[in-house]
Amino acid sequence: MDISEFVTRFADQFMDPNETTFAPETKFHELSGWTSMTALLEIAMIEDNFGTTIPSDVIRGAETIQDLFDAVQKSKGNA
């Protein structure tokens, strides 16, 4: 999966994916739709698509969607 597809799937977890234009540089913690529920759904999305479960610290430490994508790749050993 490339970053473009990751951004699309990331946006799909939001109750209102139209609240912003999602991009790799989007600072997702600042979005009004970012909640504990979204965080949980993103962890599930990553597990489903990458077969890896990321710790909550990784999500909290990622500033942008690109950061999260990079962290997922790293956890899979693909970086």
Binding site: T35, S36, M37, A39, A44, E47, T53, S56, R60
Partner: protein, 173 residues
């Protein structure tokens, strides 16, 4: 007494921590979501603790990575009807929009269904608190058909919760 699961530790509230809880509870960032929003005095807090420190109410300090970060509870436990009402607040801002609140509620629900033997959890949620509504719907809660605002009643039965747990608990490593 404590209950530890999904990376969080729930420590039964004791008298030495009720001032910590009072300070959290009096903070407007927490009290704004509560039905009772007046300032709570130390005396009021002692009376409250005396009234809930029993087998029908379980208040837990949430401990995450060695830090006390919030409070969760099941109150008004009816062992005859096998029901109880859950609640949670996270005081530590950095954990609010993370999976930690879910870890806490999964731990609390496991305590209620597996340890206390309850069959149904109840929640009363203000209709304008969309985040809380979404949170509870993901957990498997269903709105009572006859429920009327501004505060609606939601129920979570054991079977629906276990389905939800099967879906998400695997993520809590």
């Amino acid at each position: 007494m404590f209950f530890e699961k999904y990376g969080v530790k729930l420590e039964r509230l004791t008298a030495d921590k009720i001032e910590l809880v009072r300070n959290w509870r009096n903070d407007p960032k927490i009290s704004q979501y509560m039905e009772f929003r007046d300032h709570i005095t130390a005396e009021m807090q002692k009376k409250w603790f005396a009234s809930v420190n029993n087998e029908n109410n379980y208040y837990f300090i949430i401990n995450y990575k060695g830090q006390d970060v919030g409070l969760t509870n099941v109150k008004d436990v009816d062992f005859g009807k096998k029901t109880g009402e859950g609640g949670i607040f996270i005081y530590e801002d950095s954990l609010l929009n993370s999976d930690i609140p879910f870890r806490v509620i999964f731990a609390l629900n496991d305590f209620c269904f597996d340890e206390l033997g309850l069959e149904t959890m109840v929640a009363h949620i203000m209709d304008d608190n969309q985040r809380a509504i979404d949170f509870n719907l993901v957990l498997g809660y269903k709105k009572a058909p006859d429920s009327k605002g501004p505060k609606s009643t939601y129920f979570l039965n054991k079977a629906d919760y276990f389905k939800c747990r099967e879906k998400f608990a695997r993520l809590f490593k």
